[in-house]
Symmetry: C2
Subunit: 206 residues, 2 copies
DNA sequence: CCCCTTTCCCGTACGATGTACTGGAAATGG
DNA sequence: CCATTTCCAGTACATCGTACGGGAAAGGGG
Protein backbone atom coordinates (compact mmCIF):
# COMPACT_ATOMS: atom_id res chain seq x y z
CA UNK A 1 0.00 0.00 0.00
CA UNK A 2 2.84 2.49 -0.24
CA UNK A 3 1.71 4.99 -2.82
CA UNK A 4 4.64 6.00 -4.94
CA UNK A 5 7.56 4.32 -6.63
CA UNK A 6 9.10 1.64 -4.41
CA UNK A 7 12.72 1.97 -3.31
CA UNK A 8 15.14 -0.08 -5.34
CA UNK A 9 17.27 -0.80 -2.28
CA UNK A 10 17.00 -1.20 1.46
CA UNK A 11 18.49 1.23 3.90
CA UNK A 12 20.18 -1.74 5.55
CA UNK A 13 21.62 -2.72 2.18
CA UNK A 14 23.12 0.73 1.71
CA UNK A 15 24.61 0.73 5.19
CA UNK A 16 26.05 -2.76 4.69
CA UNK A 17 27.73 -1.68 1.46
CA UNK A 18 29.20 1.33 3.23
CA UNK A 19 30.57 -0.92 5.98
CA UNK A 20 32.10 -3.19 3.35
CA UNK A 21 33.94 -0.26 1.77
CA UNK A 22 35.18 1.06 5.10
CA UNK A 23 36.33 -2.40 6.14
CA UNK A 24 38.25 -2.95 2.93
CA UNK A 25 39.72 0.47 2.23
CA UNK A 26 39.28 2.59 5.33
CA UNK A 27 36.89 5.34 6.28
CA UNK A 28 38.56 7.92 4.04
CA UNK A 29 37.77 5.84 0.97
CA UNK A 30 34.09 5.95 1.84
CA UNK A 31 32.68 8.79 -0.24
CA UNK A 32 29.11 9.18 -1.36
CA UNK A 33 30.07 8.76 -5.01
CA UNK A 34 32.11 5.67 -4.29
CA UNK A 35 29.29 4.11 -2.31
CA UNK A 36 26.77 4.97 -5.01
CA UNK A 37 28.99 3.46 -7.69
CA UNK A 38 29.32 0.30 -5.60
CA UNK A 39 25.54 0.03 -5.53
CA UNK A 40 25.18 0.83 -9.22
CA UNK A 41 23.26 3.98 -8.39
CA UNK A 42 23.59 7.69 -8.94
CA UNK A 43 25.32 9.65 -6.18
CA UNK A 44 22.17 11.48 -5.15
CA UNK A 45 20.06 8.37 -4.81
CA UNK A 46 21.66 7.67 -1.46
CA UNK A 47 19.98 10.68 0.05
CA UNK A 48 16.70 8.82 -0.21
CA UNK A 49 17.93 6.45 2.47
CA UNK A 50 20.11 8.74 4.55
CA UNK A 51 19.79 12.38 5.56
CA UNK A 52 23.51 13.08 5.21
CA UNK A 53 26.86 11.38 5.60
CA UNK A 54 26.87 11.93 9.33
CA UNK A 55 23.76 9.83 9.70
CA UNK A 56 25.24 7.20 7.42
CA UNK A 57 28.20 6.74 9.75
CA UNK A 58 25.87 6.65 12.74
CA UNK A 59 23.99 3.82 11.09
CA UNK A 60 27.22 2.05 10.18
CA UNK A 61 28.39 2.08 13.77
CA UNK A 62 25.12 0.68 15.00
CA UNK A 63 24.97 -1.84 12.19
CA UNK A 64 28.18 -3.61 13.21
CA UNK A 65 27.53 -3.31 16.94
CA UNK A 66 25.10 -6.15 17.48
CA UNK A 67 26.31 -7.95 20.56
CA UNK A 68 26.55 -11.70 20.13
CA UNK A 69 28.59 -12.76 23.14
CA UNK A 70 27.50 -14.56 26.29
CA UNK A 71 24.05 -13.55 27.57
CA UNK A 72 25.09 -12.27 31.01
CA UNK A 73 28.54 -10.84 30.42
CA UNK A 74 30.89 -9.12 32.83
CA UNK A 75 32.33 -5.71 32.01
CA UNK A 76 35.55 -7.43 31.00
CA UNK A 77 33.65 -9.62 28.57
CA UNK A 78 32.01 -6.57 27.07
CA UNK A 79 35.29 -4.73 26.74
CA UNK A 80 36.94 -7.72 25.08
CA UNK A 81 34.02 -8.02 22.70
CA UNK A 82 34.35 -4.33 21.83
CA UNK A 83 38.03 -4.78 21.15
CA UNK A 84 37.43 -7.72 18.84
CA UNK A 85 34.81 -5.72 17.02
CA UNK A 86 37.15 -2.79 16.54
CA UNK A 87 39.95 -5.02 15.32
CA UNK A 88 37.55 -6.47 12.78
CA UNK A 89 36.38 -2.99 11.71
CA UNK A 90 39.47 -0.79 12.01
CA UNK A 91 37.55 2.37 11.10
CA UNK A 92 35.44 2.00 14.22
CA UNK A 93 37.85 3.63 16.70
CA UNK A 94 38.04 6.76 14.55
CA UNK A 95 34.28 6.84 13.89
CA UNK A 96 32.97 6.33 17.41
CA UNK A 97 34.25 9.36 19.40
CA UNK A 98 31.64 12.05 19.90
CA UNK A 99 28.68 10.17 18.43
CA UNK A 100 25.17 9.99 19.84
CA UNK A 101 24.78 6.18 19.92
CA UNK A 102 21.02 5.85 19.81
CA UNK A 103 20.62 2.86 17.52
CA UNK A 104 19.02 -0.33 18.79
CA UNK A 105 22.28 -2.24 18.91
CA UNK A 106 23.98 0.45 20.94
CA UNK A 107 21.06 0.53 23.32
CA UNK A 108 21.25 -3.23 23.58
CA UNK A 109 24.92 -3.04 24.43
CA UNK A 110 24.21 -0.35 26.99
CA UNK A 111 21.56 -2.58 28.50
CA UNK A 112 24.08 -5.40 28.94
CA UNK A 113 26.53 -3.03 30.53
CA UNK A 114 23.97 -1.76 33.01
CA UNK A 115 23.04 -5.33 33.83
CA UNK A 116 26.69 -6.11 34.49
CA UNK A 117 26.78 -3.19 36.92
CA UNK A 118 23.50 -4.04 38.60
CA UNK A 119 25.13 -5.59 41.63
CA UNK A 120 27.27 -2.58 42.44
CA UNK A 121 24.51 -0.41 43.88
CA UNK A 122 25.96 2.60 42.09
CA UNK A 123 23.63 5.42 41.06
CA UNK A 124 22.48 5.44 37.43
CA UNK A 125 24.61 8.33 36.16
CA UNK A 126 27.72 6.73 37.65
CA UNK A 127 26.96 3.51 35.77
CA UNK A 128 26.55 5.40 32.51
CA UNK A 129 29.78 7.23 33.12
CA UNK A 130 31.65 4.00 33.78
CA UNK A 131 30.36 2.41 30.59
CA UNK A 132 31.35 5.43 28.53
CA UNK A 133 34.81 5.34 30.08
CA UNK A 134 35.29 1.65 29.39
CA UNK A 135 34.34 2.22 25.76
CA UNK A 136 36.72 5.17 25.61
CA UNK A 137 39.44 3.01 27.08
CA UNK A 138 38.93 0.33 24.45
CA UNK A 139 38.95 2.93 21.70
CA UNK A 140 42.24 4.30 22.96
CA UNK A 141 43.81 0.89 23.36
CA UNK A 142 42.80 -0.36 19.93
CA UNK A 143 43.78 2.90 18.25
CA UNK A 144 47.25 2.50 19.66
CA UNK A 145 47.30 -1.17 18.77
CA UNK A 146 46.31 -0.55 15.16
CA UNK A 147 48.71 2.35 14.75
CA UNK A 148 51.56 0.17 15.88
CA UNK A 149 50.48 -2.61 13.54
CA UNK A 150 50.26 -0.28 10.55
CA UNK A 151 53.54 1.46 11.33
CA UNK A 152 55.61 -1.68 10.93
CA UNK A 153 53.93 -2.63 7.69
CA UNK A 154 53.36 0.45 5.61
CA UNK A 155 56.20 2.88 6.28
CA UNK A 156 59.25 1.45 8.02
CA UNK A 157 61.46 4.41 7.07
CA UNK A 158 58.98 6.85 8.61
CA UNK A 159 59.17 4.92 11.84
CA UNK A 160 62.93 5.16 11.65
CA UNK A 161 62.66 8.93 11.19
CA UNK A 162 60.46 9.16 14.26
CA UNK A 163 62.89 7.14 16.32
CA UNK A 164 65.71 9.35 15.10
CA UNK A 165 63.88 12.47 16.19
CA UNK A 166 63.23 10.88 19.56
CA UNK A 167 66.90 10.03 19.98
CA UNK A 168 67.87 13.56 19.01
CA UNK A 169 65.53 14.94 21.66
CA UNK A 170 66.93 12.57 24.24
CA UNK A 171 70.48 13.54 23.35
CA UNK A 172 69.81 16.96 24.82
CA UNK A 173 69.64 15.34 28.24
CA UNK A 174 66.34 17.02 29.06
CA UNK A 175 64.44 13.76 29.27
CA UNK A 176 66.22 11.32 31.60
CA UNK A 177 63.17 9.14 32.35
CA UNK A 178 62.35 8.84 28.68
CA UNK A 179 65.94 7.95 27.95
CA UNK A 180 65.80 5.20 30.54
CA UNK A 181 62.71 3.69 28.96
CA UNK A 182 64.23 3.84 25.50
CA UNK A 183 67.47 2.30 26.72
CA UNK A 184 65.53 -0.48 28.36
CA UNK A 185 64.40 -1.37 24.86
CA UNK A 186 61.88 -4.05 24.05
CA UNK A 187 63.13 -6.39 26.73
CA UNK A 188 59.74 -6.42 28.40
CA UNK A 189 56.53 -7.06 26.50
CA UNK A 190 53.70 -4.59 27.04
CA UNK A 191 50.89 -5.87 29.26
CA UNK A 192 48.04 -7.73 27.60
CA UNK A 193 44.67 -6.15 26.92
CA UNK A 194 42.81 -8.36 29.37
CA UNK A 195 45.35 -7.50 32.03
CA UNK A 196 45.06 -3.74 31.67
CA UNK A 197 41.32 -3.80 31.13
CA UNK A 198 40.76 -5.88 34.24
CA UNK A 199 42.87 -3.52 36.35
CA UNK A 200 41.06 -0.47 35.05
CA UNK A 201 37.63 -1.98 35.55
CA UNK A 202 38.26 -3.13 39.09
CA UNK A 203 39.57 0.35 39.78
CA UNK A 204 36.44 1.98 38.43
CA UNK A 205 33.82 -0.23 40.04
CA UNK A 206 35.69 -1.14 43.22
CA UNK B 1 73.65 35.08 7.53
CA UNK B 2 70.56 33.54 6.02
CA UNK B 3 70.95 33.96 2.29
CA UNK B 4 67.53 34.64 0.79
CA UNK B 5 64.49 36.72 1.55
CA UNK B 6 63.71 36.62 5.26
CA UNK B 7 60.37 35.18 6.40
CA UNK B 8 57.76 37.80 7.21
CA UNK B 9 56.40 35.69 10.05
CA UNK B 10 57.47 33.13 12.59
CA UNK B 11 56.33 29.57 12.53
CA UNK B 12 55.26 30.04 16.13
CA UNK B 13 53.26 33.08 15.09
CA UNK B 14 51.40 31.07 12.49
CA UNK B 15 50.65 28.26 14.92
CA UNK B 16 49.46 30.73 17.57
CA UNK B 17 47.06 32.33 15.09
CA UNK B 18 45.73 28.89 14.17
CA UNK B 19 45.17 28.12 17.85
CA UNK B 20 43.32 31.41 18.28
CA UNK B 21 40.94 30.56 15.45
CA UNK B 22 40.31 27.05 16.73
CA UNK B 23 39.71 28.36 20.25
CA UNK B 24 37.23 30.97 19.07
CA UNK B 25 35.35 29.15 16.31
CA UNK B 26 36.22 25.48 16.52
CA UNK B 27 38.50 23.24 14.53
CA UNK B 28 36.17 23.12 11.52
CA UNK B 29 36.50 26.87 11.07
CA UNK B 30 40.25 26.51 10.77
CA UNK B 31 40.96 26.40 7.05
CA UNK B 32 44.17 27.35 5.38
CA UNK B 33 42.54 30.28 3.61
CA UNK B 34 40.97 31.53 6.81
CA UNK B 35 44.26 31.32 8.66
CA UNK B 36 46.08 33.07 5.85
CA UNK B 37 43.50 35.86 5.79
CA UNK B 38 43.89 36.25 9.55
CA UNK B 39 47.62 36.76 9.03
CA UNK B 40 47.15 39.08 6.08
CA UNK B 41 48.88 36.62 3.80
CA UNK B 42 48.10 34.58 0.73
CA UNK B 43 46.85 31.06 1.27
CA UNK B 44 49.94 29.41 -0.10
CA UNK B 45 52.35 31.39 2.04
CA UNK B 46 51.54 29.15 4.96
CA UNK B 47 53.22 26.24 3.27
CA UNK B 48 56.52 27.96 3.87
CA UNK B 49 56.07 27.33 7.57
CA UNK B 50 54.18 24.06 7.53
CA UNK B 51 54.38 20.99 5.32
CA UNK B 52 50.63 20.44 5.31
CA UNK B 53 47.58 20.89 7.51
CA UNK B 54 48.30 17.68 9.40
CA UNK B 55 51.59 19.08 10.58
CA UNK B 56 49.91 22.35 11.49
CA UNK B 57 47.55 20.58 13.86
CA UNK B 58 50.46 18.60 15.30
CA UNK B 59 52.19 21.86 16.07
CA UNK B 60 49.02 23.35 17.51
CA UNK B 61 48.63 20.48 19.94
CA UNK B 62 52.20 20.77 21.09
CA UNK B 63 51.98 24.56 21.25
CA UNK B 64 49.23 24.57 23.87
CA UNK B 65 50.62 21.61 25.80
CA UNK B 66 53.37 23.25 27.78
CA UNK B 67 53.00 21.92 31.31
CA UNK B 68 53.03 24.64 33.95
CA UNK B 69 51.77 22.80 37.02
CA UNK B 70 53.66 21.64 40.12
CA UNK B 71 57.18 20.37 39.43
CA UNK B 72 56.76 16.83 40.76
CA UNK B 73 53.14 16.02 40.01
CA UNK B 74 51.18 12.85 40.65
CA UNK B 75 49.29 11.16 37.84
CA UNK B 76 46.11 12.70 39.18
CA UNK B 77 47.68 16.16 38.98
CA UNK B 78 48.67 15.51 35.39
CA UNK B 79 45.22 14.26 34.46
CA UNK B 80 43.57 17.27 36.07
CA UNK B 81 45.93 19.56 34.23
CA UNK B 82 45.11 17.84 30.95
CA UNK B 83 41.41 18.26 31.62
CA UNK B 84 41.78 21.97 32.34
CA UNK B 85 43.78 22.33 29.15
CA UNK B 86 41.12 20.60 27.09
CA UNK B 87 38.35 22.67 28.61
CA UNK B 88 40.29 25.78 27.68
CA UNK B 89 40.89 24.49 24.13
CA UNK B 90 37.74 22.54 23.26
CA UNK B 91 39.13 21.41 19.92
CA UNK B 92 41.87 19.47 21.67
CA UNK B 93 39.87 16.30 22.43
CA UNK B 94 38.96 15.94 18.78
CA UNK B 95 42.48 16.76 17.55
CA UNK B 96 44.52 14.53 19.82
CA UNK B 97 43.40 10.96 18.98
CA UNK B 98 45.79 9.12 16.71
CA UNK B 99 48.55 11.71 16.66
CA UNK B 100 52.29 11.12 16.96
CA UNK B 101 53.05 13.52 19.86
CA UNK B 102 56.71 14.21 19.26
CA UNK B 103 56.87 17.90 20.06
CA UNK B 104 59.02 19.13 22.94
CA UNK B 105 56.05 19.95 25.13
CA UNK B 106 54.54 16.51 24.66
CA UNK B 107 57.87 14.92 25.46
CA UNK B 108 58.09 17.10 28.54
CA UNK B 109 54.67 15.96 29.65
CA UNK B 110 55.64 12.36 29.01
CA UNK B 111 58.75 12.90 31.11
CA UNK B 112 56.66 14.11 34.06
CA UNK B 113 54.37 11.15 33.70
CA UNK B 114 57.24 8.70 33.72
CA UNK B 115 58.66 10.44 36.77
CA UNK B 116 55.33 10.05 38.51
CA UNK B 117 55.46 6.33 37.78
CA UNK B 118 59.10 5.93 38.80
CA UNK B 119 58.25 4.44 42.18
CA UNK B 120 56.07 1.68 40.81
CA UNK B 121 58.84 -0.51 39.46
CA UNK B 122 56.78 -1.24 36.37
CA UNK B 123 58.57 -2.00 33.09
CA UNK B 124 58.94 0.85 30.62
CA UNK B 125 56.34 -0.22 28.06
CA UNK B 126 53.75 -0.64 30.83
CA UNK B 127 54.42 2.91 31.98
CA UNK B 128 53.96 4.25 28.47
CA UNK B 129 50.77 2.28 28.09
CA UNK B 130 49.39 3.66 31.35
CA UNK B 131 50.14 7.23 30.35
CA UNK B 132 48.46 6.78 26.99
CA UNK B 133 45.43 5.31 28.70
CA UNK B 134 45.18 8.15 31.20
CA UNK B 135 45.29 10.65 28.34
CA UNK B 136 42.66 8.66 26.50
CA UNK B 137 40.53 8.63 29.59
CA UNK B 138 40.73 12.41 29.93
CA UNK B 139 39.90 12.84 26.25
CA UNK B 140 36.83 10.68 26.66
CA UNK B 141 35.70 12.39 29.81
CA UNK B 142 36.09 15.92 28.47
CA UNK B 143 34.48 15.01 25.15
CA UNK B 144 31.42 13.85 27.04
CA UNK B 145 31.56 16.88 29.30
CA UNK B 146 31.72 19.32 26.39
CA UNK B 147 29.01 17.55 24.42
CA UNK B 148 26.69 17.83 27.37
CA UNK B 149 27.53 21.49 27.85
CA UNK B 150 26.92 22.31 24.18
CA UNK B 151 23.70 20.31 24.00
CA UNK B 152 21.95 22.41 26.59
CA UNK B 153 23.01 25.63 24.97
CA UNK B 154 22.83 25.30 21.23
CA UNK B 155 19.97 22.96 20.37
CA UNK B 156 17.48 22.29 23.16
CA UNK B 157 14.86 20.90 20.79
CA UNK B 158 17.34 18.40 19.34
CA UNK B 159 18.01 17.17 22.85
CA UNK B 160 14.27 16.80 23.33
CA UNK B 161 14.08 14.78 20.12
CA UNK B 162 16.83 12.49 21.38
CA UNK B 163 15.08 11.97 24.69
CA UNK B 164 11.85 11.23 22.83
CA UNK B 165 13.54 8.59 20.73
CA UNK B 166 15.03 7.09 23.88
CA UNK B 167 11.63 6.98 25.55
CA UNK B 168 10.14 5.37 22.47
CA UNK B 169 12.81 2.68 22.55
CA UNK B 170 12.23 2.10 26.23
CA UNK B 171 8.49 1.84 25.70
CA UNK B 172 9.10 -1.41 23.83
CA UNK B 173 10.12 -2.97 27.14
CA UNK B 174 13.33 -4.36 25.65
CA UNK B 175 15.57 -2.26 27.88
CA UNK B 176 14.57 -2.66 31.55
CA UNK B 177 17.90 -1.54 33.03
CA UNK B 178 17.98 1.52 30.85
CA UNK B 179 14.41 2.31 31.82
CA UNK B 180 15.34 2.11 35.48
CA UNK B 181 18.20 4.57 35.01
CA UNK B 182 15.98 6.97 33.08
CA UNK B 183 13.22 6.71 35.68
CA UNK B 184 15.72 7.41 38.42
CA UNK B 185 16.17 10.76 36.72
CA UNK B 186 18.73 13.32 37.77
CA UNK B 187 18.29 12.63 41.45
CA UNK B 188 21.96 11.70 41.79
CA UNK B 189 24.73 13.87 40.45
CA UNK B 190 27.36 12.15 38.31
CA UNK B 191 30.67 11.55 40.08
CA UNK B 192 33.29 14.27 39.89
CA UNK B 193 36.27 14.11 37.57
CA UNK B 194 38.79 13.83 40.38
CA UNK B 195 36.81 11.00 41.87
CA UNK B 196 36.64 8.91 38.73
CA UNK B 197 40.18 9.72 37.67
CA UNK B 198 41.57 8.73 41.04
CA UNK B 199 39.73 5.40 40.97
CA UNK B 200 40.92 4.64 37.49
CA UNK B 201 44.52 5.55 38.25
CA UNK B 202 44.73 3.51 41.41
CA UNK B 203 43.23 0.63 39.45
CA UNK B 204 45.87 0.93 36.74
CA UNK B 205 48.97 1.36 38.88
CA UNK B 206 47.85 -0.64 41.94
C1' DC C 1 77.60 49.17 -7.46
C1' DC C 2 75.62 45.44 -9.91
C1' DC C 3 74.20 41.08 -10.53
C1' DC C 4 73.27 36.49 -8.94
C1' DT C 5 71.83 33.23 -5.97
C1' DT C 6 68.72 32.03 -2.59
C1' DT C 7 64.61 32.23 -0.25
C1' DC C 8 59.94 33.47 0.44
C1' DC C 9 55.44 35.29 -1.26
C1' DC C 10 51.10 34.42 -3.40
C1' DG C 11 47.67 34.41 -7.72
C1' DT C 12 45.86 30.86 -10.26
C1' DA C 13 44.11 26.49 -10.80
C1' DC C 14 42.99 21.49 -10.20
C1' DG C 15 40.87 17.53 -8.27
C1' DA C 16 37.86 15.89 -4.70
C1' DT C 17 34.08 16.22 -1.65
C1' DG C 18 29.27 16.86 0.31
C1' DT C 19 24.96 18.03 -1.19
C1' DA C 20 21.04 21.54 -3.22
C1' DC C 21 18.18 21.70 -7.20
C1' DT C 22 15.29 19.89 -10.76
C1' DG C 23 13.04 17.34 -14.00
C1' DG C 24 12.06 12.72 -15.43
C1' DA C 25 10.67 7.78 -14.24
C1' DA C 26 7.92 4.34 -12.00
C1' DA C 27 4.54 2.70 -9.15
C1' DT C 28 -0.34 2.81 -7.02
C1' DG C 29 -5.35 4.58 -6.31
C1' DG C 30 -9.47 6.53 -8.35
C1' DC D 1 -6.43 6.28 -18.17
C1' DC D 2 -5.13 9.86 -15.42
C1' DA D 3 -3.42 11.89 -11.20
C1' DT D 4 -0.64 11.54 -7.37
C1' DT D 5 3.07 10.20 -4.93
C1' DT D 6 7.47 8.60 -4.39
C1' DC D 7 12.15 7.66 -5.79
C1' DC D 8 16.03 8.17 -9.14
C1' DA D 9 19.91 10.60 -10.96
C1' DG D 10 22.28 14.31 -14.05
C1' DT D 11 24.07 18.70 -13.42
C1' DA D 12 26.11 22.11 -10.73
C1' DC D 13 27.98 24.81 -6.86
C1' DA D 14 30.60 26.01 -2.80
C1' DT D 15 34.44 24.60 -0.24
C1' DC D 16 38.45 22.28 0.84
C1' DG D 17 43.67 21.11 0.62
C1' DT D 18 47.42 22.03 -2.06
C1' DA D 19 50.58 21.63 -6.79
C1' DC D 20 52.72 24.89 -9.82
C1' DG D 21 55.34 28.68 -11.29
C1' DG D 22 56.62 33.33 -11.80
C1' DG D 23 57.58 37.63 -9.35
C1' DA D 24 59.67 40.01 -5.21
C1' DA D 25 63.10 40.79 -1.69
C1' DA D 26 67.14 39.99 0.70
C1' DG D 27 72.46 39.00 1.11
C1' DG D 28 77.16 37.70 -1.08
C1' DG D 29 80.83 38.05 -4.68
C1' DG D 30 82.85 40.48 -8.53
Amino acid sequence: MPRGRPPARTRTEVVAAAVAIADAEGLDALTMRRLAAELGAGPMSLYTYVRDKEELVDLMVDHVSDYDGPPAPTLLHLATWQRDLMLRHPWLPTAVPGRSLQGPNMLGFLERGLAALAGTGLPGPAKMEILALVTGFVVGYVTHELAQARAGVTAPEQVAAQVDRLRAAIATGAYPELAAVLAEGGSEAPPSFEDVAARMITGLVG
